[in-house]
Every structure is written in C-alpha cells, then in structure tokens.
Subunit: 249 residues, 2 copies
Amino acid sequence: MDAINRTSAEPYYQQLGRILEQRIKSKELSPGQRLPSESDLCRTFDLSRSTVRETLRSLQEQGLIRMIPRRGAFVAERNSGDWMLQVTRGFFESEVDGTRTVDTTVFRSGLEPLPREASDALGLEPGAAGFILERLRCLDGKPAVYSTNFMPPEVGAVLAGTDVLRGTQSLNQTLRAAGYQISSARREVAAVGAPELPARFLGLDVRDPVLLIRSLSRGADGRPFDYYRSYARSDVVTIAVEAQAMDGD
Amino acid sequence: MDAINRTSAEPYYQQLGRILEQRIKSKELSPGQRLPSESDLCRTFDLSRSTVRETLRSLQEQGLIRMIPRRGAFVAERNSGDWMLQVTRGFFESEVDGTRTVDTTVFRSGLEPLPREASDALGLEPGAAGFILERLRCLDGKPAVYSTNFMPPEVGAVLAGTDVLRGTQSLNQTLRAAGYQISSARREVAAVGAPELPARFLGLDVRDPVLLIRSLSRGADGRPFDYYRSYARSDVVTIAVEAQAMDGD
C-alpha cells in the first residue's frame, strides 16, 4: 500500500500524494514536521524528481503542506475550519474544506457615506461615499463572524449584479477576478465587549467578549482597496496564525 | 539632501539608507508600498547594484522594509510596539524599538507538574513535570501581557542562572543560543473573559474581555519545545498580523 503501483492507471504523482496524505491524516507525519527531502522521496519510492515535485505542489495546493524555500516541505498546522490570519485569502474562500458548511447572509450592500475610520484607512476624504457590505457568516449553522467591508466606490462597483451580494460567491475571488488582488494586508486583533448589533447577530449578550479583527488589504501598487471590521466568535471558529522562521530570524 | 555625497566618509549604502528611511518615516513611501526596484535605485542614485542591495538588507534588518522574493521590497506595515504574530520572534525581543519601555516581572519559575493542556501540546505524558515560567510584561509602565510558558524539563534547564528568570533577558534569545531556535509556531487567538489571576495582574475586572494567545513553538526537527498562554490587553498593546500574498494566492 505504501509503494507505487507501476501498473495502475493512476499517475505516479497522485499515488505518492495519496500515500503522503494518508500519513499526514494519520498523524504519522505530524503538524509542523518536516517531510523527507525530495531526494529521499525519489529514492524511497523510486520516482523521478519531477514526479516528486508535482506531488509536493499538489499537496501544497490542497493546504496539507507548506514549502519553505531552501528549508523543505512541512506538514501544515491548520485544521479544517481554522481562519489563518497570515494568508491573504479569505476565511471562507479556501480555509474551510468540504467537511464544514458555511452560510453567508448579506444584510446590507450599497454606496453610503463611509465612517471616518474606514475613509481614513482607505485614504479617502472624510465623509466620502464608499461601498459597504455587511454579512453574517455561519459555520456548521452556528453564527461565527459578523463582518462589515468598506471599499472605494470603484471597487464596490465590480460587485454589482454578482452573487457576492446574495452571499453565494466569494468576495475575495470576485475582487481578484476584477483586478483587485491582495498583495499585502495588515490585520489587527483585539478582544472587545460585543456591541449591540454584532451581539444580536452572533447570539451573544451585549458586552460578552468577542474578537474584533480589523484588516486593510492593498493591491500590488500598495493602494488600499478593502477595509473590514469582523466580529468573530473565537469559541466557534478557531482563529490562528502560523509563524515560520525567515532566514536570519 | 536626496543625493549621494561622494566626498563624505559615510559609506554610500548608509547614505542611501538614510534617504530611504527618511522617506518612509515621512510617509512619502507609505506602509505596504513597493519601493523602487533595485535597477531604479541604481539609476536614480548612480550606485552599484551591490551597494543598493546592502542598503535594502540593512533596512530589512531594521524592520523598515520587507523583501519578498521575485516581488521586490515593501515598506513594512508595523509600528513601534506592535506585537506581530506571524513572525517567530518574541514580542519584546525585536518588535519594540527604543521608543517604548518594557518591564518584565517574573512571578514563578521552576519545575512543576504540567497542566494537561501543556503536556498534550508538548507531546509529554499526562502529569509529566515541566519548566513553568510566569511573567507580567508592562509596556510604558502599563500592564500589557500576562504569560505562562511551559517547556520540557531539558529546555527549562538551560534557563537556570540566566537573567531570563530575573526578567531582564529575552527568553527567545536565550533558548536560541542554547540550540532551541523556533522553526515554526502555531498561534491561536481568542477573546475570553479574564480569569481572576490574569485580571488582577492586568488591572482588569474579572470577566472583562481579554485576548488569549496560545502558541506552540517547534524546532527545525519539528519537535515542540515551548508552549505558552498569554493574556494580552489589546487596548494597551496592538496585536497584528501582516499577510503577504504568496505566489499563486
């Protein structure tokens, strides 16, 4: 079972992928652990380097491993349903796999005067109009995150008529397809007492502890195009950060 | 002022460093913005590529910019006193520059039976002994973070007789010097009501919202060597994450 079947129609790289995936899921390879080197994998399974690389790429795309230049491949530390703050992708875009259900309800969307906090963050004049998108995201039926996004008008315009406004399409993916790709984002986390509206939507009492995440996303030109405030129930959704040493750390 | 003085004794790379630093501090180059390319800097300032690279390296070491392979150099988004969760360095090790004061009080240190949460995280038997280090960190005189670290006995042993136990030396640096260098860490953040002891130390009322950060650090071999629980006042210390797009994100 742990060898490559040379007579199977299944490509070698997929067979190796299954073997490694099974070792990861069984915790034989535990989170954070370094995988055997490419050379070791080539030797152990009698495969070419290009096949081994194809396997690693595919495991990385599935989020099962993380490849660090010059250091190797490591078993990812995230679990299904975690919200990983250090990646630019959105929570419900790629971090939640098929084993958990996510429902999004849109409460508000449209052009409105921006609150000062949002216009400042986006570099717009105080009182400027912007596109506001207010959503509740439920994880496995439980209210998990109550978010308000604030965007410059021209960014919000690309959402018109899309299923983002019905809660069935990813905001990040839609913005990216329109040329607004996140290049970097700064996110701040704070513990606050839940204000009335988020408390009501999240099923909390007013002033219950809730996680507030404020995030500003910038494009490749460094210009901010999306600011959000999310109130998250950290007892419903695990919010995590994976730190990796850089050279010289 | 914005040109290289060819007759100065100050090395060219330092002169260029000052010029760029001043543009960053004046926000002419704003957080997240991409710096001019190496070639552009060479041309504009009539400098060699190796000089420009030396400047960029030095700015990166100071934390003013961040270099992303194949994408260029970007103005860092952090501020003095931020706790950046996606880097492996500790809060008080490198993120706080000379403009803010940090005081650490050690309340407890020594070998004790580990709580189940810590022995599980560290992969030790339930009830195993470990080294426990309990500290209060104040930022500019204000209680900011109340932390308890849990380490396997052989890791804690390297702290014996060091100033870590008097609160005047960095735990991370001391562990690193002893061969326990963080290769990866997983950190989870949650908003909780402050328990009695952290509340008292942090100057909060019991059940006031407080940020709980749980972190597990692993070495290059993937083995965990430090688990901590930190209660942080996010109204005193800004806790942030900087997300950068990877290729393919």
